[in-house]
């Protein structure tokens, strides 16, 4: 027998690990990825691959030559950032742009703060917003989904359903008339509409979300609070005037709502730690998203809403504490 190890208790450890969580998230993204490949074809595959490879490359370079810390490229988090960044751009985006987006996401969004776990903002969203502000035209040109497309050029583009409604209402047309110009809800649920690569199919994203719930990678608190507050806020507006404000279900299945609520807002690193905090965070995201969508300049507000709420996370963590044992003395 060799020397005995002496360490503090406990002496058994769960099988949880950082990479298991990260690869679990990647696995849960597969359905949405397949839908995007189906509707946007080769260009979606190329963009996703480029984003993943460049995110990993930038993390490798920064970790090796600037931070000189332990290698974290293969823990899976850079892969997630890559996939989510690609999911948040139109399929017609030039590849060099997504390389820049990856550099910003990993460099500015993550490694500047010290790598995984230290970043206050969701890295993929930092990359996405950087691209949106820098290349507004390329970032808002939405190719129409075509089944099994291998086209890289000459794609037909058109506005997203959200933009159709936003611009139409702004031009004074009633919602009932505009509804003819957007796809049917069932079509949108499966992803047959214009939009960013990975956000189109609410259904595929929901399947992934349920998988993450079962694997206990996420909890229900943020998605339910987020989607619930969108439903309620949207519902009130719709109730007030259905000709100006579209119904809340439309808000749920269009744009980046599902992708945001299930993947972006639930990012462990940039969301609150306690259940109560998560619910506050989710409600904040929901309200901000609706404010931007309905009253703001952009048709879509998910990215900004989540980034803004990310900034509130330290505050939420400081003031919202979990329920302590023995705090409320119940006798009976």
């Amino acid at each position: 027998m060799s020397l005995l190890t002496v360490s503090g208790s406990p002496h058994v450890y769960s099988k949880e690990s950082v990479s298991k969580i990260m690869y679990g998230v990647i696995l849960s993204l597969v359905p949405a990825m397949l839908v995007s490949f189906y509707f946007f074809g080769l260009s979606a595959i190329l963009l996703t691959l480029t984003a993943v490879v460049s995110c990993m490359a930038f993390e490798f370079i920064i970790q090796k030559y600037l931070i000189k810390g332990p290698m974290t490229v293969f823990d899976g988090s850079a892969i997630i950032t890559g996939i989510l960044l690609a999911f948040n751009v139109p399929s017609s985006l030039p590849l060099w742009m997504i390389v820049i987006g990856s550099a910003v996401a990993i460099g500015m969004g993550k490694m500047t703060f010290g790598g995984l776990g230290k970043n206050p903002f969701n890295p993929a969203l930092v990359g996405r917003v950087f691209l949106l502000i820098s290349f507004p035209v390329d970032m808002t040109t939405w190719p129409k989904p075509t089944e099994f497309s291998t086209n890289l050029v000459d794609v037909v583009s058109g506005p997203t359903p959200l933009a159709v409604i936003k611009e139409g209402v702004a031009a004074g047309r009633p919602v009932s008339e505009l509804m003819a110009e957007v796809p049917e809800y069932v079509q949108m649920l499966f992803g047959n509409m214009g939009g960013s690569i990975g956000e189109i199919s609410a259904l595929a994203l929901l399947i992934g979300g349920i998988y993450m719930l079962i694997r206990k990678i996420i909890t229900w608190h943020i998605p339910v609070a987020y989607l619930g507050s969108v439903m309620i806020f949207g519902g009130i507006l719709w109730f007030v005037n259905p000709e100006v404000y579209i119904d809340p279900v439309f808000h749920l299945i269009t744009g980046g709502m599902m992708l945001g609520a299930l993947y972006m807002a639930t990012d462990m690193v940039t969301s609150p730690m306690s259940y109560k905090g998560m619910i506050i965070f989710g409600i904040g995201c929901g309200i901000l998203t609706m404010v931007i969508r309905v009253f703001g300049a952009y048709p879509e507000g998910v990215s900004f809403a989540i980034l803004i709420m990310n900034a509130f996370v330290p505050l939420i963590n400081t003031y919202v504490k979990p329920k302590r044992f023995g705090e409320v003395v119940k006798n009976g």
Binding site: V6, I21, R324, G326, V329
Partner: protein
């Protein structure tokens, strides 16, 4: 099915030795009996080198209120009173006795007859429990007589008997409930009498259906004693968690169970109380589980206090070649041993062996702020945050974030995907807050 509500984990149970009946371990050639085997002030030795002692003879007296008497577990000659490395890894004073035969004190009733009747008054029961050096057998080793004295102004309503054994691997309580249930129940009735309560609840996790059934059957003959099956969840054996699970009351922060009218004793303690009160037998032996995935014969031994751990390992088929860690207690709260000659004490519920491959922690990563440590914390604390506060020496902040509520169950470190040393840092924080509180009290 009942359980506690905040936090908790479910580590693999691995109760390898649950079917191994309790076997009396051979008396070793020499025992080292530490004078501090309990929480509180160490006992004072009253024997000298060369003294002849009998089994069960008082050898060190617990003079303070929170202290416990120590009795010789063997008969023989005191060879010396010296410091030995005990299970804590520190050198502590112990009485070392060379064994000669096994001659017991005359007043101890060694027959197996069940003695149900107890005509002593509560004061006499408490005095006897005190005299016989009974301490909590669940591991914390708090002197039992202190817990039987209800403080002025408080009222005990219910006695809770802890048969949860939520620690994986350990089976000593399980075997006691299966093999010594009748005596244990008499012990419980005696404790009820001492406390002046009409009701006792025995909590047992439902991974021990045989024990639940057996104890239930016998308890039917005892007035006021019921058995409650509990859902398996660690750390249900924690005093506060068990009270919450059984009677749905929360002991307030920093207070004792008596605050909500409850007193908690372990099943092993109930048995020891029976033996002390009815049979005049002091606490000189206890059931110890010896187990581990590579242990040849996972066993439950009845061991004389002071027996070296190595003798137990020998009897369980020897130490496997690849052993990397030996733990005194269960895998969640037990202490790793640095010395296999350390003596078994009143608080030793198990000796657990881990192979080399399972002896080290997970690789360390950055905290990914997943919040799992908060989810599993049975006291509703924020381990990630407390660990950082402790690391940064923010002692006041540790205190205001209720670090002293931590019961060190280890669930946070168990679950952490990044292998953060959460509990280690919190222990440092707790000791610093403790210092701060003491300095405040002395000013």
């Amino acid at each position: 099915m009942k359980t506690f509500t905040i936090g908790g984990v479910h580590p693999p149970e691995n109760k390898l030795s649950k079917d191994a009946a309790i076997v009396a371990l051979e008396i070793p050639k020499s025992v080292s009996i530490p004078i501090s085997q309990h929480l509180g002030v160490p006992a004072v030795p009253i024997v000298e080198k060369g003294a002849k002692v009998k089994t069960g003879q008082l050898i060190a007296k617990g003079e303070a209120f929170i202290s416990a008497n120590i009795h010789s577990s063997v008969s023989g000659t005191v060879s010396k009173i010296d410091e030995v490395i005990d299970t804590s890894g520190y050198k502590r004073k112990a009485v070392i006795i060379d064994v000669e035969g096994d001659e017991w004190e005359a007043e101890i009733d060694r027959t197996a007859d069940l003695k149900k009747e107890c005509n002593l008054t509560p004061e006499e029961i408490i005095k006897k429990v005190n005299e016989k050096g009974i301490v909590g057998m669940g591991g914390a080793t708090f002197p039992s007589h202190v817990k039987l004295i209800v403080p002025k102004g408080k009222k005990a309503e219910v006695l809770i008997i802890n048969g949860v054994e939520c620690e994986p691997y350990l089976t000593s309580d399980h075997r006691v409930m299966l093999e010594r249930a009748e005596e244990m129940l008499v012990g419980i009735s005696i404790q009820m009498k001492a406390l002046g309560v009409e009701k006792a609840i025995i909590g047992i996790e439902n991974n021990k259906p045989d024990a639940i059934e057996h104890v239930k059957k016998i308890a039917a003959n005892y007035k006021g004693i019921t058995v409650e099956a509990l859902k398996v969840k660690y750390p249900q054996g924690g005093e506060k968690q068990l009270i919450k699970a059984l009677i749905n009351r929360e002991v307030p922060s920093g207070k004792l169970p008596i605050e909500v009218g409850a007193v908690v004793h372990n099943v092993g303690t109930a048995l020891a109380v029976y033996e002390a009160v009815q049979k005049n037998k002091p606490l000189i032996e206890r059931v110890v589980t010896v187990t581990g995935v590579n242990v040849a014969k996972p066993s439950n031994f009845m061991v004389r206090i002071g027996t070296p751990v190595s003798a137990l390992l020998e009897a369980a088929g020897g130490v496997p070649e690849n052993t990397g860690k030996v733990v005194n207690g269960g895998p969640m709260m037990g202490k790793a041993l640095n010395n296999l000659e350390a003596p078994v004490t009143k608080g030793t519920s198990g000796i657990l062996l881990f192979p080399q491959v399972a002896s080290s922690r997970k690789p360390l990563h950055n905290c990914i702020r997943c919040g799992k440590c908060i989810t599993v914390c049975c006291m509703g604390l924020e381990p990630y945050f407390l660990a950082v506060l402790a690391e940064k020496n923010k002692v006041e902040d540790c205190e205001s974030n209720r670090i002293m509520d931590c019961i060190e169950c280890g669930s946070c470190l168990y679950i952490c995907p990044s292998g953060r040393p959460l509990l280690d840092n919190m222990r440092v924080g707790k000791s610093k807050v403790g210092q701060l509180m003491r300095s405040r009290a002395s000013n």
